[in-house]
Symmetry: C2
Subunit: 294 residues, 2 copies
């Protein structure tokens, strides 16, 4: 069985490509990351991009996850339905070359609230495996499209996507607020004012206009970028908590700066946040999934 | 006194310029509208644009309102504080030429929730004058930046701006949902699904992603433009109702198509909506304000 050897794990997303050479016990032997995410590729030749990864890390079997399996990626893989776990993901790996190059599928939720996810499920499995996360818990992956996952008895039970990062980019680049959102440094006071507006029940779409009103009135002008960030992250957390099945700490997985902001807001909502490393949970997740192939 | 004669009223906004020649009793003698709103002007010569209006309607005194008084307009006029009424607006008219060419100021709200408005206050005064609206009531002006006004004892007491139309444009032109928002015809079923999501407590930023999820899953795909319109209008109405002091009907002032959609959503929230004509209320408002000058 091929997985009784070293192998390569690849997290190929929109912004970055990360690859790790793993020992058969899942330990990291080598790794690299570069900016060849999907947003920087046009008409890519995936065969040669994959070969290049093997040139750098060795000619080993390879498991990929993330946007590489989307309709904008190399091969569109199916979505596994909820509840999902390492076994159902392993059983639905899309084999580009049998036993040698496989893509982990995404996860979907049908029914009244259809939703999809691709990449974060691997981190979720990894977080569970390492024992860092309770078998009944809620996780949040902050980002362009934040993902909230409910875990029940070790299975991914439900998901909710919140368009937080994308909304921030739209407002920051193209809205009437853009001019007031250009401060270089994060301003904690404005950030706090932002999340407190949402916690006190102010609706997002009207709270946003405060940036404009204060600017026009020259009345206590705001650092708009930080304020809007507070509004949006609090709206995200509010949405995530709405259906969270766990009353314990929320596990935040991803980039540490962003997770740190979410942790502050979670605490303002009266909930604890625990930050987990995105890369480490990804590697652990791939290893758990590949073990199901043995 | 100049207002004991015919005079010209001008509503000069972002998209359009509208002008009416009024008799001394406020009746409309002539009018025109064109597309010379601010978004189509670059480095305009306002003196000649104003002269052209008099060429068309006669050499009469002129009162203007709307974006013409903003920092992007001809002369930036102050904002009158809440509570505001016809008298406080009349007293703060900015006279470009005394007694001959004046700009009605905007309205502002300071304190915990700073907000501003420019143009809609004239329609609000007009709606009150005509007796169509109770002296304690709530009005909504749907648009790029929707304005909700609380009227107490005939004064404009409080305002709330909701960035509904702007958010719609951002999502429609630049978001990941844009491709699924291009249907040509309003689809009532999708619109209804949208507003029902918000009424049932679904948060806006996660409800939006349903358009994407259904598209990717090919699962009961949505007419995204109508669905997002339902989500946003319901979020707007929810924000407006939050602080509405009146339990009576909400008065909707503006473009009749858009007001019609708001009326449907208001009714779904269990509230009645009464649609008032934007042009007629503007003309009545200018006349009421100029009467305070006598």
């Amino acid at each position: 069985v091929v997985w009784r050897s070293k192998y390569i794990a690849v997290d190929w997303g929109n912004t970055n490509r990360r690859a790790w050479l793993l020992g058969e016990d899942g330990s990291v032997k080598a790794d690299f990351a570069d900016g060849l995410g999907f947003s920087s590729l046009s008409n890519p030749c995936f065969e040669s991009l994959i070969a290049e990864i093997r040139d750098r890390l060795g000619d080993w079997p390879m498991i990929l996850a993330g946007m590489i399996g989307s309709n904008k990626g190399w091969h569109q893989t199916d979505y596994v339905g909820c509840p999902a776990n390492a076994l159902s993901l392993a059983q639905n790996i899309y084999w580009v070359e049998a036993g040698r190059t496989g893509i982990i599928p995404g996860i979907c939720q049908l029914g009244h609230h259809p939703d999809v996810m691709r990449g974060e499920e691997v981190q979720a499995i990894g977080a569970l495996t390492t024992g860092l996360v309770a078998r009944d818990s809620t996780m949040c992956h902050p980002g362009t499209h934040s993902k909230w996952l409910d875990i029940k008895d070790g299975n991914i039970q439900a998901l909710r996507t919140v368009m937080t990062g994308e909304m921030f980019k739209l407002l920051h680049s193209s809205s009437i607020l853009a001019e007031q959102m250009q401060e270089a440094k994060h301003d904690h006071k404005a950030f706090q004012q932002g999340y407190e507006r949402i916690i006190s029940g102010e609706p997002l779409l009207s709270a946003l206009f405060e940036v404009r009103a204060r600017h026009v009135l020259q009345h206590n002008p705001l650092e708009g970028r930080s304020f809007v960030s507070g509004l949006l992250i609090a709206s995200d957390v509010q949405a995530g908590l709405l259906s969270a099945i766990s009353s314990g700490p929320m596990y935040l997985i991803g980039q540490s700066d962003l997770c740190g902001l979410y942790k502050i807001v979670l605490e303002a909502f009266g909930r604890a946040g625990v930050i987990l490393d995105g890369d480490a949970t990804f590697v652990a997740g791939v290893h758990t999934i590949t073990q199901e192939l043995l």
